[in-house]
Amino acid sequence: MSTTSKKAARPLCTLIITAHKEGLLLGATIKSLLACEKFAGPENYSFHKVIYLDNADQETKDIAYNAEKCFGFSIVETEYADQGKVRNQAASEAQDGFIAFLDGDDIWSENWLSKALATASQNKNYIVHPEFNWFFGGSNNILHKIDQDSQLFSKNFLRTGNYWDALCLAHRDIFTHVPYSARDIATGFAFEDWHWNCETIQMGYKHKIAEDTIHFKRRRANSQTIAASKRKVLMRDTNLIHFDNAD
């Protein structure tokens, strides 16, 4: 990362790809991140790019280390087998500023960073999500996300469903203040992103939408979210789902 005084004045944003067994799919993800970085303008922001390899297979590692060599990514290897824990570590290791997470097989729309950073810069308590999740591969559905300030938003919905996933952009302090909870598949608790959304709302943070932005999300047969849904797992308990905290 640059340390010149001129560049230090630019807002800092750490772009974090979390990968495990994406293999060659990781390549397109890296390309989309680079396109996004270019569109946002390195002259406007100082970006630090990291790939976290959690129990990654060799194919995935090869792609990641090639990206280190060619595009200046940092690589960190972990052995959690838990996305939440990886994100927690990544947040704790990131420098001050914003953090944007990207799954190792997903694609950002080119305007994502630019628009999300513009939104997040308005308020340090904002957690920014794309306007659309556009699925491809095993699904072709489109999910239109809801801004917390929208009339369609209700805390009550979070009792039964999730508005947003973990692929957001927010200030590092939010991630360190509210870390992701651990998965406990044996007991039947997962959906750490849903839980994190509830907890952050409880803490007073606000989930916002960056208009016109898209996350293209690859749906694979062995997707962890799909697997969690099939296993009848639940989100961990959180005060937000209690009737005491209802809208």
């Binding site: 397109a28 390309k31 989309s32 396109a35 694609i107 729309s109 080119e110 305007n111 306007e131 659309f132 556009w134 491809f136 591969g137 072709n140 559905n141 489109i142 999910l143 239109h144 996300k145 809801i146 369609l152 938003f153 209700s154 009550n156 919905f157 009792r159 039964t160 469903g161 999730n162 508005y163 007991t187 039947g188 608790f189 016109d212 932005t213 898209i214 293209f216 690859r218 009848k232 797992v233 639940l234 308990d237 789902i241 209690h242 009737f243 005491d244 209802a246």
Partner: protein
């Protein structure tokens, strides 16, 4: 003409350049509003920044017809000024609602004059009220359309369409008006309450109109008429409950019809055939679940009942009890339309194209795509809606104890649930306990439960959910209530929920369930909750309550339970509220040694296979000297009660045990084929009434040692008959035994004992 590349900066220069007279005249003809604004001193730049309605100017049409680059970056007013400066000279007609061929063929003078027809219309034809388009009745400038609608006369074409959907208005004054072609009456009635007006949504129509044909003017309050005259021909959305595409894809037999014919088919037939026609309302399912007769429209019925279910993207759409849902569904449909329009916008499409350059599999196959809006239209909508209803019906937001019961009908389990709830009320105060009725709606015996205990009906708000969703809903409810203890007393939903989510629930609250006995199939195989759920849920329970030792022994032997595991099984003697009162004592004294001339044997229970009502009829037939007074009703309808001997006297269903005329009862007969320890036998025993009962399940727990009461060959009428005869011959000994049993019941099966046992079991 050389078209300059137009960027926003150069556009500013362009629109700030003074307009020449021709351009001003064109603007005046085209849009008097803009002209007036310009004349009033507003700068061209200011006018261009507004979003104005322009007749005969469609942004998309102009961009499509013009070869000038960069036009997609301009707003509508800017584009219009661009057309005034450049497009006009290129003879671009920026709308599809001016039909040049029609205009020239209709107006020979224009054809002869060799004038550009569109220019003629704008500068002269419009003022002369000439017709710009053959098919579309209301293509034209705003003031023309407004004027027409002030004194609207429906055309022959309008009436033709209305007649093609006449079924929709069958039997109404509107039908007559349409048939007689009475324009004024038809218009008046169309604007009032009628099926078409009900399903029509002005918001949806205006949204579609402005999204697809922004140049068409629709007068205020006249949207339905405008749709009737114009929008229907343009295949514009007009309702949350009809989508041409959905109707085609869901109904293959009419898929080949042109769009207007499909619409007619829906309004005239499909709506009454309950065909699926939109995403937000599943008419076939609604009709099925509401048992709507053939030929009657589920959709229109739902409007009458104001009871349309929430939209659900998982295709499980059904119904809910929440009122005023039709408007909510219209909101949802409108929201979906807005999202679809956004997805089609150039901004999003350009992002999509760029992403496809990186990953060509994105948007590769769009068949069967669904668009979700969490909270409004998603696979979770049904569950969300159900939870909303439940939340609204709750009296409190938090309960320490939750008691799950299937329903409350004449059953021992219901009585036990009442006793348990009373015990919990004593231990924790009644306001801390909530009874949740899970599997049905009946709650016939509220007097079994302590006053002040809140009751929540879970069944009705969740009946449209899938079984898995119901389990999730109950789990969510338990979590939302922050219950510390959950007691399941014969609730199947409770068992399936513990089975599915017991692992998670047991980490946040203590789970307790009651087991009474195994059932028997017709093949004499044991079945029921002990077989279905005990194994899978044992580990999640803090305690499993039993009402007799027999079922405990059965579970122990079935599963070879260890000492530690056995400690989880708690036998609780169900209490009786019946006291052996002084009155009963006196009656017994009075009856001592006296046998009535026509002895009366009482029998009460469900007329089901388990209670062996059929055996009772055989016993009665063979003991005509005895009169059998019978209380109860068929619940499972697995027994024929039509043919019965005359000495069986049906007494209906009793509300409370105290209503029974026990002073006339010689003995109580109980013929069950399998059972736990029936609470009614405890009650009867408490009164000192002699009992003859089948030796099954937990019954010996109560009657063992009281000679003559238990019938070992319980499936055999002979065994009962000989025991009845024995009783009639030796009534005094039987009454003596009964009196001893009554004393025992009073001390052993007391409420105080039961409450104390619960207290110990809960470790409070």
């Amino acid at each position: 003409m050389d078209i300059k590349p137009l960027e926003r900066t150069s556009l500013k220069k362009l629109i700030s350049e003074p307009l020449n007279d021709n351009e001003k005249y064109l603007i005046k003809s085209f849009s008097p509003d803009i002209y007036v604004a310009l004349q009033g001193g507003k700068s061209q730049e200011n006018v261009a920044s507004g979003d104005i309605q322009l007749p005969f100017f469609n942004r998309a049409t102009y961009i499509e017809k013009s070869s000038a680059p960069g036009l997609d970056k301009l707003n509508k007013s800017e584009l219009f000024l661009h057309w005034v400066r450049f497009g006009f000279n290129e003879k671009i007609i920026p709308t599809n609602f001016f039909d040049e061929n029609f205009y020239l063929s209709k107006y020979n003078d224009i054809k002869k004059s060799k004038l550009w027809s569109f220019k003629h219309y704008l500068t002269n034809g419009y003022g002369e009220y000439r017709t710009p388009h053959n098919a579309l009745q209301d293509a034209g400038p705003r003031n023309h359309v407004e004027k027409r609608y002030r004194n609207l006369v429906l055309s022959e074409e309008d009436f033709l369409f209305l007649r093609s959907i006449i079924n929709l208005f069958k039997g109404t004054a509107l039908e007559k008006a349409i048939t007689k072609r009475e324009s004024n009456t038809t218009i008046q009635l169309l604007e009032k309450n009628n099926p078409l007006a009900q399903i029509f949504s002005e918001e949806i129509y205006r949204f579609s109109l402005s999204a697809e044909h922004e140049e068409l003017w629709c007068p205020e309050g006249k949207a339905l008429l405008h749709w009737l005259r114009n929008g229907r021909k343009l295949d514009l959305d007009f309702s949350a409950f009809f989508c041409s595409k959905t109707y085609r894809s869901c109904n293959r037999d009419i898929a080949s019809l042109p769009s207007e014919r499909r619409l007619q088919h829906f309004l005239n037939h499909g709506i009454f055939e309950n065909r699926k026609a939109c995403r937000v309302f599943d008419a076939p399912k609604y009709a099925k679940n509401r048992r709507i007769p053939r030929g009657k429209s589920a959709l229109l019925q739902a409007f009458i009942e104001k009871d349309i279910g929430v939209a659900d993207a998982s295709n499980n759409v059904l119904l809910s009890q929440r009122k005023s849902c039709p408007t909510e569904l219209t909101d949802t449909a409108l929201e979906l339309k807005k999202v679809e329009a956004k997805i089609s916008s150039e901004t999003i499409q350009s992002q999509l194209r760029k992403a496809q350059e990186i990953e060509p599999r994105i948007d590769f196959d769009t068949r069967g795509r669904s668009i979700f809006i969490p909270g409004a239209y998603s696979p979770h909508s049904q569950l969300y809606n159900s939870m909303g209803e439940i939340q609204h019906s709750l009296q409190k937001k938090h309960y320490e104890n939750v008691v799950l019961i299937p329903h409350c009908r004449m059953s021992g389990a219901g009585r036990v649930a009442g006793s348990l709830t009373s015990a919990l009320s004593t231990l924790f105060h009644s306001t801390n306990t909530c009874i949740i009725v899970t599997d049905g709606e009946s709650f016939d015996y509220p007097n079994w439960f302590p006053e002040g205990t809140d009751l929540l009906h879970f069944f009705r708000p969740t009946q449209h959910l899938s079984p898995g969703e119901k389990n999730l809903a109950l789990t969510t409810l338990i979590r939302a209530l922050q219950a510390k203890r959950v007691f399941n007393v014969n609730s199947r939903r409770g068992w399936t929920t513990f089975s599915q989510y017991g692992a998670q629930l047991s980490t946040i609250c203590d789970l307790y369930s009651y087991l009474f006995c195994s059932d028997l199939t017709a093949e004499n195989l044991r079945t029921g909750y002990p077989q279905e759920f005990f194994r899978d849920t044992f580990q999640y329970h803090k305690k499993i309550f039993l009402d007799n030792e027999t079922i405990k022994r059965e579970l122990e032997q079935d599963h070879l339970l260890s000492e530690t595991q056995l400690a989880k099984l708690e036998v609780l003697l169900s209490p009786t509220t019946v006291k052996k009162t002084i009155q009963v004592q006196r009656r017994l004294q009075k009856l001592k040694n006296i046998l009535p001339s026509k002895p009366k044997v009482f029998w009460a229970g469900r007329f089901d296979r388990q209670k062996n009502f059929r055996l009772l009829t055989e016993i009665a037939r063979r003991t005509p000297q005895v009169e059998y007074w019978v209380w109860g009703k068929a619940v499972l309808n697995d027994t024929n009660i039509e043919s019965h001997p005359k000495n069986i006297v049906f007494k209906g269903v009793y509300g409370d045990f105290s209503e029974l005329p026990l002073d006339q009862c010689t003995a109580w007969l109980y013929t069950s084929l399998w059972d736990g320890l029936p609470t009614i036998l405890i009650d009867v025993a408490a009164t000192g009434t002699p009992i003859i009962a089948s030796n099954v399940g937990g019954i010996p727990t109560l009657l063992e040692g009281f000679g003559g009461s238990l019938v070992d060959s319980y499936a055999n009428a002979d065994a009962y008959i000989s025991r009845i005869q024995e009783l009639l011959q030796n009534i005094e000994a039987f009454r003596e035994n009964a009196n001893t049993l009554a004393n025992l019941v009073e001390s052993k099966y007391s409420i105080e004992n039961y409450n104390e046992s619960i207290k110990i079991a809960l470790d409070t």
